[in-house]
């Protein structure tokens, strides 16, 4: 059996070039394994051979356009079947470089690519859905364990062996779903899990709960009397008859409607199509979900500068989080471009 050809990617520090003062180092290469690559080679055993090490300074790769392409050119020269990047532990720029190199090596060169970093590394959140990332400790004291996992993942993936669950294999969860039919119904599996938990025996959840993204609140509006304020609702408010067919749940779109010159939302013209609550009261008086009447009063009284001439609407019911995140980004861009300073967001 011929050993698989591996190229290892490192930053300037782990390649032995130097510390932060050498962070501008352009891409370079060495024959064979160096630094952590030697430990990695031990972990790979005789099934794979590190034929070259490609390195680059952290600042150079992060700042110079085309740096990653140059790195990939060097990697490609060695015709690898596997690219291993890092591990980067909790280093941010290095983590990003490892993720980017691994992802693009797979896409451009069609190779097996793995990297390694701590789960809290910002790059893990960016690349985890695209690249297998060995879950490492925060610092290089975890090097031995990290390269063991990276080697095992690389060899398994290269041979087409399916990976087990993230906790078992030691990689950062990718979020990918595999739909399966279990050998036993849920009731039996749940009973076993509960009894193990009661008895103090080890049990593994089939579905780890997520760590949510926290959105930092924007600073308060400084001068409300000069501010442009917009109204947004997730209460499914639409013109009567729902001409744009906003969904009652699982919304796939958000809509904008003009309120220029309007002081009120008459119930003959507006309704809620939200499917998750009793809409009777809103349909009697749409201001209960979009307070245009009060906002106009505040505008007239000079409490707020002016009301944005459009309101945005969608349905926040059985919503899919990435879709809602996209809505928020699109709305945010739009509001920013229109010079809106603050938003009154009425959820339901």
């Amino acid at each position: 059996m011929t050993a698989l050809r591996v190229v290892h990617y490192l930053n300037q520090f782990f390649a032995g070039i130097g510390a932060e003062d050498k962070a501008e180092t352009p891409p370079g290469q060495r024959e064979g394994a160096i630094g952590p690559g030697r430990v990695l080679q031990q972990a790979l055993g005789d099934r794979a051979q590190i034929v070259a090490t490609v390195y680059c300074g952290d600042n150079h790769v992060a700042e110079k356009p085309g740096a990653v392409d140059a790195i990939l050119d060097l990697i490609a020269e060695h015709r690898p079947q596997i690219v291993v990047a890092g591990p980067a532990f909790s280093a941010g720029r290095y983590g990003w470089a490892c993720g980017e190199v691994a992802l693009r090596a797979r896409e451009r060169l069609g190779v097996t690519a793995v990297t390694g970093m701590h789960v809290d590394n910002a790059a893990a959140e960016i690349f985890r859905t695209e690249v297998y990332i060995a879950s490492t400790q925060k610092t290089a004291t975890g090097m031995a364990d990290a390269v063991q996992v990276m080697a095992r993942l690389a060899l398994k993936l290269a041979s087409g062996t399916p990976l087990g669950p993230p906790a078992e294999e030691g990689y950062v969860p990718t979020g990918r779903r595999v739909f399966e039919t279990a050998s036993r119904p849920a009731a039996e599996r749940a009973m076993d899990m509960l009894l193990r938990k009661i008895r103090g025996e080890a049990y593994t959840t089939e579905w780890p709960v997520p760590r949510y993204y926290r959105v930092a609140a924007a600073p308060p509006v400084r001068d409300l009397a000069r501010a442009t304020i917009a109204l947004i609702t997730t209460g499914g408010l639409v013109p009567r008859g729902n001409p744009d067919r906003l969904e009652s749940g699982y919304a796939t779109k958000w809509l904008r409607y003009s309120i220029a010159g309007a002081d009120t939302l008459p119930p003959e013209r507006w309704q809620s199509v939200h499917g998750g609550f009793n809409t009777t009261r809103i349909n009697e008086d749409p201001h209960r979900v979009l307070p245009l009447d009060v906002a106009r009063e505040l505008e007239r009284e000079g409490v707020i500068g002016r009301l944005h001439p459009e309101f945005f609407s969608t349905t926040g019911n059985t919503s899919v989080i990435p879709t809602m995140r996209r809505f928020a980004q699109e709305m945010g861009r739009d509001l920013k471009a229109a010079g809106v300073d603050g938003v009154i967001l009425t959820s339901t």
Binding site: R177, V209, Y212, H274, T279, T280
Partner: protein, 436 residues
């Protein structure tokens, strides 16, 4: 006189029905159920909400697609003991769950109908394919189905009733009509179940939460219902603070599902997989204390605090050491559920949750809300996973789905939540999602 603390004991006798055939008499002939369609029709038309009903028998493997299925009910009959089946609908609303009940195993009554004026179509659509890939996923493709295609009496829908005032539950006329639809299904199911009143069942299983080894762990089952409240003893009531039920009450049809929502059917309540499993383990692996059913409209954070506090407190009052939790994912009620789990765990009650995935895409964790204490979850399938169903030769219930509004006559690609009974957290499903 019964001894103090005497237990509710219910024997469920199953007659395994192998075929259903048309006849001029409704009766059980050995393992064949003969039905007189004219008689069933007359029974349904006793209620003036209907001007017509077509009774059809549909069998596993037939190239048939049923759409607009509103509920599925298993024929059962109370042979001995207080009350009758489906209390509050076809028998008095007295406490059931004792004595003996016979069931026609393998038979189901399915109510079918298009939306009536003023009826909300949200969460309404439910499909059963009797053959093909859909049949492998829906439990109701494996039953001999007596399908009731109901025609509404439009006199109950005066002008104005077509206005949908509330997208969740629709107008009052449509609500009343839908209750009649369910009552019709229950009446037919009881009538068919009655044919087994003198039959010798193929097997009899006794369900009883008898006193047991005090060393066994004390386990309660928490069952979450949502805003789409079921009927308990014929009463539709929101239960944010929870109420207690004996599992045997489910088996006698005291819980009837409101015919909305992707999840659930009266059939499922009568044959609740998790409750049956807990009963079978009672006295062996655990001490099953009973069920707390909870859920309702909880619009504010205070409501959610009150709901989760009440439910976890009831579990503590029962001195539960552990809780098996059947949860409903996908909306604000997931908060109530997770807070309940958190409060149970903080009170030392160990929990395991059975839950459906509602997420799509690797960035979507599939939880609307979660607490770190929910560390033991069994995934019972994805509501978003799609399935492609080939064209079926016969379509029952109409030509178009109402939510989503698409043609049902040809090949269909739909999320699994529309496939009746396929995605359900009650423990019977083997569908699951593994996260890589």
């Amino acid at each position: 006189m019964k001894a103090l603390g005497d237990n509710m004991r219910l024997e469920v006798g199953s007659v395994h029905v192998r075929d259903v055939e048309a006849s001029d008499r409704t009766e059980l002939r050995d393992h064949t159920l003969a039905i007189d369609a004219a008689e069933l029709r007359a029974l349904v038309l006793e209620d003036s909400h209907f001007t017509d009903v077509r009774v059809r028998v549909v069998k596993p493997g037939e190239s048939v697609r049923i759409i607009h299925a509103l509920d599925v009910v298993e024929p059962r009959w109370k042979v001995a003991g207080p009350g009758g089946v489906f209390p509050g609908f076809v028998s008095p609303a007295v406490t059931v769950g004792e004595g003996r009940t016979h069931r026609l195993a393998g038979v189901a009554v399915v109510e079918v109908g298009a939306p009536v004026p003023g009826e909300s179509t949200v969460f309404r659509e439910r499909i059963v394919d009797m053959a093909g890939p859909g049949a492998e996923l829906s439990p109701f493709a494996r039953t001999l189905n007596v399908v009731l295609e109901l025609t509404p009496n439009m006199a109950f829908f005066p002008p104005g009733s077509e206005t949908i005032k509330d997208f969740l539950t629709g107008g009052p006329e449509s609500n009343e009509y839908n209750r009649a639809v369910q009552a019709a299904g229950l009446k037919v199911a009881a009538h068919l179940g009655r044919t087994a009143r003198e039959a010798v069942p193929d097997d009899v299983e006794a369900f009883e939460l008898a006193p047991c080894d005090p060393a066994l762990p004390r386990v309660v089952c928490l069952l979450q219902e949502v805003t789409l409240t079921p009927y308990l003893y014929g009463v539709r009531v929101s239960l944010p603070l929870g109420t207690m039920l004996h599992p045997n009450e489910f088996f006698d049809g005291a819980v009837v599902r409101w015919n909305r929502g992707y999840i659930g059917s009266t059939y499922r309540e009568q044959n609740h997989p998790m409750l049956i499993e807990l009963c079978r383990r009672h006295g062996r692996d655990l001490n099953f204390l009973g069920c707390i059913v909870f859920g309702g409209v909880t619009v504010s954070a205070a409501d959610k605090e009150a709901s989760s506090s009440s439910v976890s407190k009831m579990a503590r009052l029962l001195r539960a050491e552990a809780a098996m939790v059947i949860g409903l994912n996908g909306s604000n009620h997931a908060v109530d559920l997770m807070l309940t789990i958190q409060k149970c765990e903080r009170a030392g009650i160990k929990t395991t949750l059975v839950y459906n995935d509602v997420g799509e895409g690797p960035d979507d964790p599939g939880f609307i809300f979660a607490v770190p204490e929910a560390d033991a979850i069994v995934n019972s399938g994805s509501r978003a996973q799609t399935v492609t169903l080939p064209k079926m030769a016969t379509l029952i219930g109409g030509d178009r789905l109402v939510d989503p509004d698409i043609d049902a006559r040809g090949e269909l690609t739909i999320p699994m939540r529309y496939l009746y009974g396929a995605i359900d957290p009650s423990g019977g499903s083997r569908q699951t999602v593994r996260f890589e």
